[in-house]
């Protein structure tokens, strides 16, 4: 974890607290933002970036990050692909994610947007589609992404087996079963990251 990111998260927390005193009271955002920059999330996003980089093989392209939350995934991608020839769009259906992602990673040449996975997004223009929030999304929507993408477009999806949270509606018991559920034509990697209380699963393919 980088101190620059942690410092920005702290300043953002201060801003949200100040806002709660005089305007919108949403102190839970502070907890949510802290959670988004914790070591588990840092490690799992770095893990995806490292393995996708090995397989992708180019310095250019256009990546779409679905469920991008406050932008940590996009930040890792930008670090690995520093050239502006790689275009990064990080989308989340929660409008506050866009606002806060700009504050955390606004100088990283990333386009943060508010978009729902069900919105009519033209996925044919992307060279990779990344989603590290699959446990929060309907399986039907994941399959729809795969159906709408170009055949040569990479997908890098993560889910987990942590079923105890009410927002986790699409957990899987193993990486292999998750991979099979996606029905990709080509599978480059099916991996498991063992964390303290649960396992995170990743599938990379086309």
């Amino acid at each position: 974890m980088e101190s620059k990111i942690l410092y920005r998260a702290l300043k953002l927390s201060e801003k949200i607290y100040d806002e709660s005193m005089y305007g919108v009271d949403d102190l839970y955002r502070i907890k949510d933002i802290i959670h988004s920059v914790d070591q588990n999330h840092w490690d799992s996003k770095k893990w995806l970036t490292d393995i996708l980089y090995k397989h992708y093989g180019y310095q250019t392209g256009k990546f779409y990050i679905a469920g991008g939350w406050y932008g940590m995934m996009a930040y890792h991608i930008r670090k690995q692909w520093p050239l502006s020839k790689l275009n990064i769009i990080s989308a989340d259906c929660d409008p506050m994610c866009e606002e806060y992602a700009w504050e955390l990673f606004g100088d990283c040449d990333i386009d943060f947007r508010t978009m729902d996975v069900n919105d009519e997004v033209d996925l044919s223009e992307y060279t990779a589609i990344i989603n590290t929030s699959c446990e929060h999304m309907e399986q039907e929507d994941l399959l729809s992404i795969i159906e709408k993408k170009q055949r040569q477009t990479w997908v890098a999806f993560q889910t987990n087996n942590y079923k105890d949270l009410n927002s986790h509606i699409n957990c899987w018991p193993t990486a292999q079963l998750f991979a099979e559920s996606l029905g990709l034509e080509y599978v480059a990697a099916v991996e498991t990251l063992e964390l303290k209380d649960f396992n995170r699963f990743m599938v990379i393919g086309k």
Binding site: D25, D32, D94, P95, H136, E138, L165, N166, S167, I169
Partner: protein
């Protein structure tokens, strides 16, 4: 009046639904909104899982406020872990506004803290008019881009309804007993609730 309960997941079996149905034996349409109707009494009207968005356990209670939910008119909801004592045929409630239980037994400054997301109402019993557009707004508000955030922020629908500033009425205090917070009472409640207590079907008899 419609009577409805919600059964999702394995925590409460069909015997809890059937018990509720038998305890409320006066003429009413009794519905169960569920992902598993196996074992339910044949006279219970089943409303099957309405699908997307996928919700877990108690969050499915919010679905009852969807304008497309197949109910109309005066509706009473009861949780499966409430004990029915002497339920009247005609409830004296305000049908013009959604009504919840007032947890008057929750006392202390803790509940007034800005950062405390616990609330002094609960949804073990709810009455509303299923045609009321104000009630439909609860479901519509939940199903915005913030839905996943709400699921993380709030432990359940009670906190969502209170902290998202929906207006509601509360039942007369003597209608309800909380076994956990108010074990000794000197009135005759129509239902007894067991907030967060582990109970079996024998506790409801």
């Amino acid at each position: 009046m419609n009577i409805i309960c919600v059964k999702f997941g394995p925590k409460y079996g069909p015997e809890f639904v059937n018990k509720l149905y038998k305890d409320l034996h006066y003429p009413s349409d009794f519905y169960c909104y569920t992902d598993d109707a196996i074992g339910l009494h044949e006279s219970i009207k089943v409303i099957p899982d309405m699908g997307r968005p996928t919700l877990k356990v108690w969050w499915n209670k919010l679905r009852m406020f969807d304008k497309n939910f197949p109910l109309s008119g005066k509706t009473l909801f009861l949780d499966l872990d409430v004990k029915v004592n002497n339920f009247p045929e005609h409830l004296n409630v305000c049908w013009n506004k959604i009504t919840f239980i007032d947890c008057h037994w929750k006392q202390g400054k803790l509940y007034n803290r800005l950062s405390n997301y616990d609330v002094k109402m609960n949804s073990s019993m709810i009455t509303w008019n299923a045609d009321d557009p104000e009630v439909h707004k609860i479901w519509d508000h939940f199903n915005t881009g913030f839905r996943d955030y709400y699921l993380r922020k709030y432990k359940g629908i009670d906190r969502f309804i209170v902290h998202e500033d929906f207006e509601y009425e509360t039942f007369n205090h003597h209608y309800i007993q909380s076994k956990k917070y108010h074990p000794d009472i000197n009135y005759d409640p129509i239902i007894t609730t067991f907030e967060e207590m582990d109970i079996g079907i024998e506790d409801l008899i």
